[in-house]
């Protein structure tokens, strides 16, 4: 039923592996990267409906990656994942245009629902873009 594609970016490989498996069971197309530059490379090659980004990553952090994705791939919706609730980064993330800001550990079904909503939003944006010319 679903043909949603996700890009999962997190430096914790265990977490990425588990999530990838769980998404694939739901027949969702998942690609993953363990850092920002790799993620941007993947985005150059193909489009994703939704990107799920860890906030705290070595090198380019999740907020910087979010900023770049919003600038270069504005149609890709971004969900931020964070292990530590920080108001400051939460506000930054939302004002940079994240679709949602989710605390780890996230309930999988909850996250899946958010992914579907984000993909729905992308589809709506694509449609208005086509309609508006």
């Amino acid at each position: 039923m679903s043909d949603i594609s996700i890009l999962l970016v997190d430096d914790e490989t265990d977490f990425v592996e588990t999530m990838t498996k769980r998404f694939r069971i739901r027949k969702i197309d998942v690609a993953s990267a363990s850092n920002g530059p790799d993620a941007l490379n993947l985005l150059e090659g193909r489009e994703f409906d939704v990107a799920i980004l860890d906030v705290r990553m070595p090198g380019m952090d999740g907020l910087e990656l979010l900023r770049r994705i919003r600038a270069k791939h504005p149609l890709t919706e971004v969900i931020m994942l964070t292990g530590h609730a920080s108001l400051e980064t939460g506000m930054q993330g939302m004002s940079l245009g994240a679709f949602d800001y989710v605390l780890k550990p996230a309930d999988f079904d909850d996250l899946l629902d958010k992914v579907r909503r984000a993909a729905e939003r992308r589809a709506l944006n694509v449609r208005t873009r086509h309609a508006g010319g």
């Binding site: 609730a85 108001l87 506000m91 939302m94 245009g97 800001y101 909503r117």
Partner: protein, 334 residues
């Protein structure tokens, strides 16, 4: 004391309304019967009293008293009407000026932010390059070099700060077309509240969610609403002292949904109420806040077709209510 900010979505209509209120045309149209009564009744009775004075003096006296009372009441009614119309005109003018000012500030800020972003980026690059050269330099462990490195680090930090401000400015000025989806508001609020929880517990502040589980879905823009809710809760957290309370509730009727963030913090002094949504207005120390948070919220909520209502009692707390239309596009909430 309360401030109500409503959009002047249709300037033409607003101007017509202003005109009819100022000239009294509206009062005339709506109260034609009452006005005729006010104009005709006292003179008629006065004439009757004069006629009765010839026939029956006591009756004439009674009629005269009646005329007096009626005239007084009539004059009072008209005065009240007049002053109310005057007040309405003033507040409408305020609102018109306010939204024009906001639009102007938005444009200006975007222009400045754009212009300043480039030099800021160059300063950042140069500082980075200088740092790179410094790292390669020989004998770089003398006190002077250490000082130089500190100095460069400070330049970086301040440049980042400038970048933060220009980003907020651009964000403030950006026009967003809301993307409408069915949103579970209860969950949205709870999600955002979880982000605030930890910081609230540091301050020993209780963040209470009094949210119904059977709230109907709201057709609105989820990320924008998240931003507004998060901003209002953060503001509330800054406003309360240790041990304070923040309560988030929702209310729904046929036409609107209200999201209410109430705190028992310091409250807002009356003289600040009118400036609350003005960009750059802040009561925080320099560097602590840009004064764009509430202005941004105001813009976002207007964009969603809603309003933000504020009521506050200094020393007792404030209540911010976001009122959104349940059916989007039904025009601004009044």
């Amino acid at each position: 004391m309360s401030a109500r900010v409503t959009p002047a979505a249709d300037p033409g209509r607003a101007a017509r309304e202003l005109f009819s209120r100022a000239t009294g045309a509206r009062v005339w149209r709506e109260n034609r019967l009452a006005l005729w009564l006010h104009f005709l009744a006292p003179p008629t009775l006065a004439a009757l009293a004069a006629a009765a004075a010839f026939a029956n003096p006591p009756l004439a006296a009674l009629l005269a008293v009646l005329v007096l009372a009626l005239s007084a009441a009539s004059a009072r009614w008209l005065m009240t009407r007049l002053s109310r119309a005057e007040e309405a005109k003033d507040s409408l003018t305020d609102q018109l000026i306010q939204s024009q000012k906001m639009a102007a500030v938005g444009e200006l800020s975007a222009g400045i932010a754009h212009e300043i972003n480039n030099p800021i980026a160059i300063i950042a690059q140069e500082a980075e390059w200088a740092g790179h050269l410094l790292a390669k330099a020989e004998k770089s462990d003398t006190p002077d070099f250490t000082e130089l490195r500190d100095s460069l680090r400070e330049i970086r930090a301040q440049v980042d700060r400038c970048g933060g401000i220009t980003h907020k400015l651009l964000d403030f000025a950006r026009r967003r077309e809301p993307v409408l989806q069915d949103v579970d508001v209860t969950r949205l609020i709870d999600d955002m509240a979880r982000l605030v929880d930890k910081e609230a517990s540091y301050k020993d502040v209780a963040l209470v969610r009094d949210l119904p589980q059977d709230l109907p879905l709201l057709r609105t823009d989820a990320p924008l609403l998240r931003q507004v809710v998060l901003n209002l809760m953060t503001n509330a957290l800054h406003a309360v002292d240790k041990g304070g309370h923040i309560t988030v509730t929702t209310k729904v009727d046929d036409a609107h949904m209200d999201i209410r963030v109430a705190d028992d913090g310091c409250g807002i002094p009356e003289e600040n109420m009118a400036k609350l949504f003005t960009p750059f207005f802040t009561t925080k120390a320099p560097g602590q806040g840009t004064g764009l948070g509430l202005a941004l919220c105001h813009n976002l909520v207007l964009g969603m077709g809603g309003v933000i209502l504020v009521s506050s009692r200094p020393g007792q707390g404030s209540v911010f209510t976001v009122r959104l239309p349940r059916v989007p596009g039904t025009g601004a909430v009044r």
